[in-house]
Amino acid sequence: MNQRPLPSRSPRGVAILELVLFAAAVLALWIFPQFVKKPYVLHMGVILFLAIIQGQAWNVVGGYAGQYSVGHAAYFGIGAYTTMMLLELNKIAPWWGLGAAIANGVLLSLVIGSITFRLRGPYFVLASISMAEILRYAFLYFKGFTRGAEGFLVSEIPTLHLFGQDVEFITKRPFYFVTLGLAVLTIIANYAVQHSKLGYYFQAIREDQDAAHSLGISLSFYKSIALAISAAFTALAGGVYAMFVKFIAPDIVFGIDVSVQFVLICIIGGIGTIYGPVIGAMVLVPLSEILRNPRGLVQIGVLSPDSKFVDFVEAHLSNAHLLVYGILVVVVILFAPDGVVGLLRRATAGLRRRRAAAQEEPGAAGA
């Protein structure tokens, strides 16, 4: 398995096919709201796109650079609070606020990075958790500034005048397009990172920090870059999330479960790949929603209102949705440790091997 030649890049033909498929998918999603107008469906779309952004964001530092942060709630929360506080306290529109959110996220990442990046392995993981916890406690405590546990509730999002059009952030539609656009943007940005010097350096750091160091890679600099990129997207996601759900409080945006969610999306999908977070989000978001709220399926129109499935889930699983969730996590880790992407890859590799088995000469292993 280790010695199978692995092309470092997809052959050109495949790359173009991928590009076409990607463009087609984006286009399909873009016109989707023309046909389906149910707010619930659009709502789930937004949540899905946000999850994709989160996953892609974490992937930069966790997947490529191998720094397993379990404290991304810090950047998410900072993004959410920045946008929200500017809106609520200073009446600054969220599209400016998001810029500030990104700036604050990056700034915070530099501070956190300078502390945690001296640490390796489990120490890094735990230090990253602590940073998010520090922020959570600080935001809970310094009420005068943050309103503490009370949090912020959006009163009204101003209307955006864009190209002579008024965009009102009241329905789900504008959020749908905004988050879809941002998700596409993150994917493209991630692709660009992966196919640049940065991508190579991040991976080198992931594989062996000392070796990377000796090859001229400044660990502190490139780790900070990775974290800054990641934090920028995370803060952006946080800001959009705040505007979308319209309510934030420290426990909501700085909680450990938020941080874990970032990791989970990537792991379920497949770490260190572009597809991973997308697939992870597509698995995780619907699943947790169906378990928590099976009636959603009825609303989408997948099931009829008197469906046995809904009754069953409501009767037996609604109290246990976290249990099922936990079981799912355990099963994935045990049986698909490389996530869904890894599973698919293994399946296709198996196919290819069987086809190639005829030609393959035995004993070609040792060189």
Binding site: M1, P362, G363, A365, G366
Partner: protein, 234 residues
Amino acid sequence: MLRIEKLNFAYGDLKVLWDVDLEVRQGEIVTVVGANGAGKSTILKNVSRLVRASSGSLRFNDVDLLRMASHEVVGLGIVQVPEGRRIFPEMTVLENLRMGSFVKATRKDRERNVERAFTLFPRLKEREKQLGGTMSGGEQQMLAIARGLMGNPKLLLLDEPSLGLSPLLVKNIFEIIKEINRQGTTILLVEQNVYQSLHVSSRAYVLETGRVVLSGTGAELLANAHVKKAFLGM
């Protein structure tokens, strides 16, 4: 004493050993030589049950090793000094040595064996209290061999004991190997240092890409044209 027949093994999809036959008789030093990646270490790992063969037979004095676990194999008196030393990094030199006689039957000889180890490798005595992980490469190799001897092995598996050692020590090591053998320990040796190892061994096997391609006494192989060309650079 040790008889390996038709052993096949693969790491995942990568097949490493193909129908390997190999025999070690009581009192012998048997060497396996071969290029990097030929599968030498893999044979030893199979004997020690660190990895599990897909087919073949593996017997030690009529005991079937295939069904056994690593620690049980050690209990039979088969001790391996692994490639890359594998010292316990956060135990002192002395603690490392004492771990070598973890098997119950060998604990009674512990103190005597520690003394023997210190006589063989005086450097270890000097560094008795240093943590294993901070010793230099060569020091760790000494410690690893010494630790292996702590277990009163009937069959000692040595995986590249001369790797990374100074010329002086390399010579010492082969002296020690002979000495240990003389004292009654059968040895299965895996080496890159083909010349020296063929010199000390009673018999040897040549392994190429997972297959035994040659075998014979040490002297025979030293004279063999293929061996000369491939391994001795002549």
